[in-house]
Protein backbone atom coordinates (compact mmCIF):
# COMPACT_ATOMS: atom_id res chain seq x y z
CA UNK A 1 0.00 0.00 0.00
CA UNK A 2 2.92 2.33 0.57
CA UNK A 3 3.37 2.56 -3.19
CA UNK A 4 0.20 4.64 -3.30
CA UNK A 5 1.67 7.09 -0.80
CA UNK A 6 5.05 7.15 -2.53
CA UNK A 7 3.34 7.88 -5.78
CA UNK A 8 1.48 10.76 -4.18
CA UNK A 9 4.66 12.20 -2.77
CA UNK A 10 6.45 12.15 -6.08
CA UNK A 11 3.47 13.47 -7.98
CA UNK A 12 5.67 15.55 -10.22
CA UNK A 13 7.58 12.46 -11.22
CA UNK A 14 5.71 11.85 -14.44
CA UNK A 15 2.53 10.15 -15.54
CA UNK A 16 3.73 6.65 -16.33
CA UNK A 17 4.25 5.53 -12.74
CA UNK A 18 0.88 6.90 -11.76
CA UNK A 19 -1.02 4.90 -14.33
CA UNK A 20 0.77 1.68 -13.46
CA UNK A 21 0.27 2.08 -9.73
CA UNK A 22 -3.33 3.06 -10.18
CA UNK A 23 -4.08 -0.11 -12.03
CA UNK A 24 -3.07 -1.97 -8.91
CA UNK A 25 -5.39 0.08 -6.74
CA UNK A 26 -8.37 0.05 -9.06
CA UNK A 27 -9.59 -3.19 -10.51
CA UNK A 28 -12.62 -3.94 -12.56
CA UNK A 29 -14.22 -7.29 -11.89
CA UNK A 30 -17.36 -7.85 -13.91
CA UNK A 31 -19.54 -4.84 -13.20
CA UNK A 32 -17.75 -4.05 -9.94
CA UNK A 33 -15.06 -1.44 -9.46
CA UNK A 34 -12.78 -2.67 -6.68
CA UNK A 35 -10.85 0.09 -4.93
CA UNK A 36 -7.97 -0.73 -2.65
CA UNK A 37 -8.32 2.09 -0.16
CA UNK A 38 -5.04 3.81 0.83
CA UNK A 39 -3.51 3.42 4.25
CA UNK A 40 -4.74 6.83 5.39
CA UNK A 41 -8.00 7.98 3.86
CA UNK A 42 -7.84 11.69 4.66
CA UNK A 43 -8.60 14.86 2.69
CA UNK A 44 -5.54 14.44 0.53
CA UNK A 45 -6.01 10.75 -0.30
CA UNK A 46 -9.79 10.96 -0.61
CA UNK A 47 -9.29 13.41 -3.46
CA UNK A 48 -7.23 10.83 -5.35
CA UNK A 49 -9.67 8.01 -4.83
CA UNK A 50 -12.59 10.24 -5.82
CA UNK A 51 -10.98 11.42 -8.99
CA UNK A 52 -9.87 8.05 -10.30
CA UNK A 53 -13.00 6.21 -9.18
CA UNK A 54 -15.09 8.70 -11.11
CA UNK A 55 -12.86 8.36 -14.14
CA UNK A 56 -13.42 4.59 -14.18
CA UNK A 57 -17.12 5.03 -13.52
CA UNK A 58 -17.36 7.05 -16.73
CA UNK A 59 -15.22 4.80 -18.86
CA UNK A 60 -16.54 1.39 -18.00
CA UNK A 61 -19.89 -0.22 -17.47
CA UNK A 62 -19.53 -0.36 -13.72
CA UNK A 63 -22.56 -0.74 -11.49
CA UNK A 64 -21.17 -1.29 -8.01
CA UNK A 65 -18.12 -0.18 -6.06
CA UNK A 66 -16.21 -2.29 -3.55
CA UNK A 67 -14.01 -0.36 -1.13
CA UNK A 68 -11.39 -2.72 0.23
CA UNK A 69 -10.12 -1.39 3.58
CA UNK A 70 -7.67 -4.20 4.20
CA UNK A 71 -4.69 -1.87 4.47
CA UNK A 72 -6.46 1.19 5.83
CA UNK A 73 -5.56 2.36 9.29
CA UNK A 74 -6.95 5.86 9.28
CA UNK A 75 -10.09 7.51 7.99
CA UNK A 76 -11.73 10.83 8.78
CA UNK A 77 -14.78 12.73 7.52
CA UNK A 78 -13.09 13.25 4.14
CA UNK A 79 -13.38 9.51 3.57
CA UNK A 80 -17.03 9.62 4.59
CA UNK A 81 -17.73 12.42 2.11
CA UNK A 82 -15.98 10.50 -0.63
CA UNK A 83 -17.96 7.31 0.00
CA UNK A 84 -21.28 9.15 0.22
CA UNK A 85 -20.47 10.94 -3.03
CA UNK A 86 -19.79 7.66 -4.84
CA UNK A 87 -22.94 6.17 -3.28
CA UNK A 88 -25.00 8.98 -4.80
CA UNK A 89 -23.51 8.24 -8.22
CA UNK A 90 -23.98 4.48 -8.29
CA UNK A 91 -27.27 4.29 -6.39
CA UNK A 92 -29.05 6.48 -8.94
CA UNK A 93 -28.57 3.57 -11.36
CA UNK A 94 -29.40 0.90 -8.83
CA UNK A 95 -25.78 0.27 -7.86
CA UNK A 96 -24.42 -0.63 -4.44
CA UNK A 97 -21.47 0.30 -2.25
CA UNK A 98 -19.74 -2.66 -0.62
CA UNK A 99 -17.21 -2.42 2.18
CA UNK A 100 -14.63 -5.18 2.48
CA UNK A 101 -12.14 -6.00 5.23
CA UNK A 102 -12.92 -2.99 7.41
CA UNK A 103 -11.22 -3.11 10.80
CA UNK A 104 -12.80 -2.03 14.04
CA UNK A 105 -11.75 1.60 13.73
CA UNK A 106 -13.09 2.00 10.21
CA UNK A 107 -16.35 0.32 11.18
CA UNK A 108 -16.76 2.67 14.12
CA UNK A 109 -16.32 5.73 11.91
CA UNK A 110 -18.73 4.39 9.28
CA UNK A 111 -21.36 3.64 11.94
CA UNK A 112 -20.93 7.01 13.65
CA UNK A 113 -21.55 8.71 10.32
CA UNK A 114 -24.76 6.79 9.75
CA UNK A 115 -23.42 5.12 6.63
CA UNK A 116 -24.36 1.62 7.72
CA UNK A 117 -27.70 1.90 5.91
CA UNK A 118 -26.07 2.80 2.62
CA UNK A 119 -23.52 0.03 2.47
CA UNK A 120 -23.15 -3.72 2.43
CA UNK A 121 -20.37 -5.48 4.27
CA UNK A 122 -18.24 -8.21 2.83
CA UNK A 123 -15.61 -9.94 4.93
Amino acid sequence: MSSFLLQKKSKRGGKKVEERVLEEKFQIVDNYLVVKVPEELDHHQAAYVRQYADKYLLDESIEHIVFDFEHTKFMDSSGIGMIVGRYKKVSSFGGKILIANAGERIRKILFLSGLSDMIEWID
Binding site: D42, H44, F74, V84, I109
Partner: protein, 164 residues
Protein backbone atom coordinates in the same frame (compact mmCIF):
# COMPACT_ATOMS: atom_id res chain seq x y z
CA UNK B 1 4.76 19.10 35.35
CA UNK B 2 3.37 20.74 32.25
CA UNK B 3 4.77 20.03 28.81
CA UNK B 4 4.12 22.11 25.74
CA UNK B 5 4.57 21.88 22.00
CA UNK B 6 3.87 24.28 19.17
CA UNK B 7 3.55 23.70 15.46
CA UNK B 8 3.09 26.19 12.66
CA UNK B 9 2.78 24.94 9.10
CA UNK B 10 1.53 25.78 5.63
CA UNK B 11 -2.21 25.32 5.24
CA UNK B 12 -1.97 22.64 2.56
CA UNK B 13 -3.78 19.29 2.43
CA UNK B 14 -0.53 17.35 2.19
CA UNK B 15 0.44 18.62 5.66
CA UNK B 16 -2.60 17.13 7.39
CA UNK B 17 -0.89 13.77 7.80
CA UNK B 18 2.24 15.05 9.47
CA UNK B 19 0.20 17.36 11.74
CA UNK B 20 -1.82 14.52 13.24
CA UNK B 21 1.19 12.22 13.47
CA UNK B 22 3.21 14.91 15.27
CA UNK B 23 0.47 15.45 17.83
CA UNK B 24 0.18 11.68 18.28
CA UNK B 25 3.93 11.45 18.91
CA UNK B 26 3.72 14.23 21.51
CA UNK B 27 1.08 12.15 23.29
CA UNK B 28 3.43 9.22 23.88
CA UNK B 29 4.53 10.30 27.34
CA UNK B 30 0.94 9.84 28.57
CA UNK B 31 1.17 6.17 27.67
CA UNK B 32 -2.09 6.31 25.72
CA UNK B 33 -3.99 3.30 24.46
CA UNK B 34 -4.03 2.68 20.71
CA UNK B 35 -7.63 3.75 20.61
CA UNK B 36 -6.87 7.03 22.37
CA UNK B 37 -4.13 7.75 19.86
CA UNK B 38 -6.52 7.08 16.98
CA UNK B 39 -9.19 9.27 18.58
CA UNK B 40 -6.77 12.19 18.90
CA UNK B 41 -5.47 11.72 15.37
CA UNK B 42 -8.98 11.79 13.95
CA UNK B 43 -9.95 14.90 15.93
CA UNK B 44 -6.76 16.73 14.91
CA UNK B 45 -7.29 15.73 11.30
CA UNK B 46 -10.82 17.16 11.40
CA UNK B 47 -9.78 20.47 12.92
CA UNK B 48 -6.78 20.93 10.61
CA UNK B 49 -8.78 20.01 7.51
CA UNK B 50 -11.41 22.56 8.51
CA UNK B 51 -8.77 25.31 8.80
CA UNK B 52 -7.51 24.50 5.32
CA UNK B 53 -10.81 23.95 3.51
CA UNK B 54 -13.11 26.38 5.28
CA UNK B 55 -10.82 28.87 7.00
CA UNK B 56 -8.59 29.45 4.00
CA UNK B 57 -10.81 28.09 1.24
CA UNK B 58 -8.34 25.60 -0.13
CA UNK B 59 -10.66 22.88 -1.35
CA UNK B 60 -9.11 20.71 -3.96
CA UNK B 61 -8.16 21.36 -7.51
CA UNK B 62 -8.59 18.28 -9.63
CA UNK B 63 -5.72 16.04 -8.69
CA UNK B 64 -4.71 15.29 -12.24
CA UNK B 65 -3.97 18.96 -12.83
CA UNK B 66 -1.59 19.21 -9.91
CA UNK B 67 1.26 18.05 -12.07
CA UNK B 68 1.24 21.46 -13.65
CA UNK B 69 3.65 23.96 -12.17
CA UNK B 70 1.77 26.92 -10.74
CA UNK B 71 1.80 29.86 -13.07
CA UNK B 72 2.55 33.46 -12.20
CA UNK B 73 3.70 34.82 -8.88
CA UNK B 74 3.42 32.53 -5.90
CA UNK B 75 1.20 33.80 -3.14
CA UNK B 76 2.36 33.26 0.42
CA UNK B 77 0.60 30.23 1.90
CA UNK B 78 -1.40 30.95 5.08
CA UNK B 79 -0.59 28.95 8.22
CA UNK B 80 -2.28 26.61 10.64
CA UNK B 81 -1.18 26.91 14.29
CA UNK B 82 -1.26 24.06 16.77
CA UNK B 83 -0.44 24.28 20.46
CA UNK B 84 -0.46 21.16 22.61
CA UNK B 85 -0.02 20.80 26.32
CA UNK B 86 0.10 17.81 28.62
CA UNK B 87 -0.76 18.29 32.24
CA UNK B 88 -1.23 15.33 34.53
CA UNK B 89 -3.13 12.79 32.46
CA UNK B 90 -4.79 15.25 30.09
CA UNK B 91 -3.76 16.53 26.71
CA UNK B 92 -5.13 19.82 25.47
CA UNK B 93 -4.86 20.76 21.84
CA UNK B 94 -5.52 24.14 20.29
CA UNK B 95 -5.84 24.40 16.52
CA UNK B 96 -6.12 27.83 15.00
CA UNK B 97 -6.43 29.56 11.64
CA UNK B 98 -6.58 33.21 10.65
CA UNK B 99 -9.16 32.59 7.96
CA UNK B 100 -12.76 33.60 7.30
CA UNK B 101 -14.20 32.54 10.66
CA UNK B 102 -17.63 31.10 11.46
CA UNK B 103 -20.80 33.24 11.62
CA UNK B 104 -22.97 30.78 13.51
CA UNK B 105 -20.97 28.35 15.61
CA UNK B 106 -23.97 26.51 17.02
CA UNK B 107 -25.27 25.73 13.55
CA UNK B 108 -21.79 24.82 12.29
CA UNK B 109 -21.46 22.22 15.05
CA UNK B 110 -24.68 20.39 14.19
CA UNK B 111 -24.01 16.99 12.65
CA UNK B 112 -24.45 16.95 8.86
CA UNK B 113 -24.33 20.75 8.59
CA UNK B 114 -21.87 21.83 5.92
CA UNK B 115 -21.35 24.95 3.85
CA UNK B 116 -19.34 23.02 1.26
CA UNK B 117 -21.54 20.20 -0.05
CA UNK B 118 -20.06 20.78 -3.53
CA UNK B 119 -16.70 19.58 -2.17
CA UNK B 120 -18.41 16.43 -0.85
CA UNK B 121 -18.05 17.44 2.76
CA UNK B 122 -20.37 15.49 5.01
CA UNK B 123 -20.72 17.84 7.96
CA UNK B 124 -19.32 15.27 10.37
CA UNK B 125 -16.10 17.02 11.41
CA UNK B 126 -17.28 18.66 14.63
CA UNK B 127 -19.33 15.56 15.45
CA UNK B 128 -16.17 13.44 15.28
CA UNK B 129 -14.21 15.94 17.41
CA UNK B 130 -16.99 15.76 20.01
CA UNK B 131 -17.22 11.99 19.87
CA UNK B 132 -13.50 11.33 20.13
CA UNK B 133 -12.41 13.99 22.63
CA UNK B 134 -13.65 14.69 26.15
CA UNK B 135 -14.11 18.42 25.67
CA UNK B 136 -14.47 20.70 22.68
CA UNK B 137 -14.60 24.50 22.57
CA UNK B 138 -14.92 26.57 19.43
CA UNK B 139 -14.18 30.26 19.22
CA UNK B 140 -14.48 32.23 16.04
CA UNK B 141 -14.53 35.78 14.74
CA UNK B 142 -15.85 36.27 11.22
CA UNK B 143 -13.06 37.71 9.10
CA UNK B 144 -10.42 36.99 11.76
CA UNK B 145 -10.26 33.24 12.19
CA UNK B 146 -11.23 30.22 14.22
CA UNK B 147 -9.75 28.46 17.23
CA UNK B 148 -10.74 24.96 18.28
CA UNK B 149 -9.72 23.72 21.76
CA UNK B 150 -9.98 20.08 22.67
CA UNK B 151 -9.10 18.03 25.71
CA UNK B 152 -8.77 14.34 26.38
CA UNK B 153 -7.72 12.28 29.34
CA UNK B 154 -5.32 9.61 28.21
CA UNK B 155 -3.17 6.83 29.39
CA UNK B 156 -2.38 4.23 31.87
CA UNK B 157 -2.98 6.05 35.13
CA UNK B 158 -6.44 7.07 33.96
CA UNK B 159 -7.37 3.52 32.93
CA UNK B 160 -6.26 2.15 36.27
CA UNK B 161 -8.24 4.68 38.26
CA UNK B 162 -11.26 3.88 36.15
CA UNK B 163 -11.07 0.17 36.80
CA UNK B 164 -10.81 0.51 40.56
Amino acid sequence: MKKEMKLEFDALPENEGFARVTVAAFLTSLNPTLEEVEDVKTAVSEAVTNCIIHGYGFGYEPVMDQDKEPEGEEKPVPKVYITCAIENDTVSIEIKDKGIGIENIKQAMEPLFTTKPELERSGMGFAFMEAFMDKLFVESNPGKGTTVRMEKKCGHSFRKADEE
